[in-house]
Assembly symmetry: C3
Homo-oligomer: 259 residues x 3
């Protein structure tokens, strides 16, 4: 007996096409992100073919978001200036229909940050990208497939859970991606990079489930290729950005492990 | 018939001499710069032979600038703290005759930042380093050679316009530098690095036109040499800093393409 | 005639054992550190086997420190937010008996920062890690062995002075470490990395003199191994982080030069 084709069956081909579209269009992705991740995130986006902008100044963030093609909201090193910037950025993104990604970094370590993230999750992010501990803090339960689907369905969002296997659910469809390398956990801001790439794909793909899957596929495949030549976490971080620049659609299709 | 020797004819030899002087003196360059660029800028300056200092705290920036050999004012990720820091830094630099460079990052995307930059341009920066879109926002017109010369002459400054060809004008003399590599546009803060190197050369050369040309020559040549061994933008970023450390005056003369 | 065994005689073996313990436990090290160093410090800690956390928000830093295994207080790019964060972090660390390291960056250039650092030195940091100019600003005298011992004894702390030879004194014992490479001075935040590694070892070793010595030994040895394959300061910075990840206890014992 044959399995029914899962909806994720054509994700690799679709991600490959999205990558070509991304490079053709070069969308601008505005990032309100943490101090540790700013430089790496900008370089990841440039390597993938985007134009990053990074200001978090409350005076300016609105005009930067208004003209952006996508927005990343990352709650790492969350302080007063970033809180103010996020409020404005999400408001403007909603008005201007700029798709946005929520990355609720380390909310499992900060109840006040978790409360803020729960409020943001009600404001229609296209995707919430996080790890298992962060999902538990956000949703109040463990991140199994049913919990992800339930959270996604209730919030009308896509949940992209990073881990040894990445799970991407929009409440109806679920993709399980097993690309990646263990060195990814030894480089700071690697999760943030995944969220940034998801934002990049949202700029060129209205189906947020496909965009999120493409972002994590691209990062995971770049990670696998990078690991082949890395001698440790820092040369790995260099190589993964190089690979984000050189990987093409054919490599996506060849290396993708998704079901 | 022979061309008249342009004033830029001896720039490579002069830049080579300046690089030796820079390394002999190890000047301190204070940088009020954006959050994305701080780490890369500090490493670029160290590699070239300088001592960077980077505080933007309004309480401290004055004393750091007072004793510095040059100042970089970069308007990226411009917020309240940076605005206050810039006001103090430029005031102190003027008092203490510390030469300074203005890098009006992304003023084409922020009218308020552009207005602030126009005010700074009136306060006698030795050099304004920017790209074509930023020049248009600053000067209200396209950055052709005549426009650069006109702006430089009116403001008593040097305009250093980065692009496929870098143009450096003081209103009378103009240098056109064609060194560099396309990967430079794929690394965040690379323009900021050029401005920082210009500040470095201002610390050892009172002729701002020569200092600015030397800074962009050095960066462009390091970029060309780095591209030979880069596999993508991140290994390129590593290699260009390595080259800034290893390039010597002889290599400057050998590789310079300027007229 | 044989020398008496100095107390530093078994430091290499001890540092080797501490490194294994560090990797087995994976302690969380909270860092209140400067904007230039945040990314590099996080990657250094990850490479060595720790979990870094980096927020400086006054609203959150207390809860991050309360549950941390060690704390780094670094005074670079010191501003109002960092001052407030440090006050809270040290208060909470004291209450919760979280061992902490003071790194009084560039206090020789800022009298107000130096005054603040002197106040912190009275609040029982386990280790003060600094360079010669910073020691002079902190202690009011040159950092010879007697001065270090005296300062350490009076303050009940360990002084770890970085330089061509690193000196680590707790007032009674002194270790002199000659590992390292001259390229370490050409990478920004390398001193900060040493302080972070000392904090890491404090998380697994109550004897602060041994912890501080282990941190500087590890960094120095990683630096030596990295220099073998570096082409300049940026490839060196990549290689030293790689080495922090791959070095094992055996390599520590083999390469340590301490007496």
């Amino acid at each position: 007996m044959h399995e029914l084709n899962p909806p994720s069956g054509d994700l690799p081909q679709h991600a490959a096409a999205l990558l070509e579209r991304l490079r053709a269009r070069g969308p601008r992705v505005h990032c309100v992100t943490n101090a540790v991740a700013q430089n790496f995130t900008a370089n990841v986006l440039l390597a993938a073919g985007c134009v990053p902008s990074m200001t978090i100044s409350p005076e300016e963030v609105g005009q930067f978001v208004a003209g952006a093609d996508a927005l990343l909201v990352n709650l790492g090193t969350f302080d007063k200036e970033r809180r103010e910037a996020v409020e404005i950025a999400v408001e403007v993104a909603t008005q201007h229909k700029v798709p946005w990604v929520l990355d609720p970094v380390l909310i499992n370590r900060s109840p006040s940050r978790a409360a803020f993230a729960r409020g943001l999750a009600e404001r229609a992010p296209k995707v919430v990208r996080l790890n298992a501990a962060e999902f538990a803090a956000l949703a109040g339960r463990d991140g199994n497939r049913e919990a992800l689907s339930s959270f996604a369905g209730q919030h009308g969002t896509v949940v992209a859970l990073s881990g040894k296997t990445d799970l991407v659910s929009d409440g109806k469809r679920i993709a399980a991606i097993t690309n990646g390398d263990s060195l990814m956990a030894k480089v700071t801001a690697m999760g943030c990079a995944g969220s940034a790439l998801i934002a990049a794909f949202l700029a060129v793909e209205p189906d947020a489930w496909r965009a999120a899957s493409a972002g994590l596929l691209l990062l995971g495949i770049a990670g696998e290729l990078a690991a082949r030549e890395a001698k440790g976490p820092a040369s790995f971080a260099v190589a993964i950005v190089d690979c984000l620049h050189t990987v093409d659609g054919k490599a996506i299709v060849q290396h993708a492990r998704v079901n």
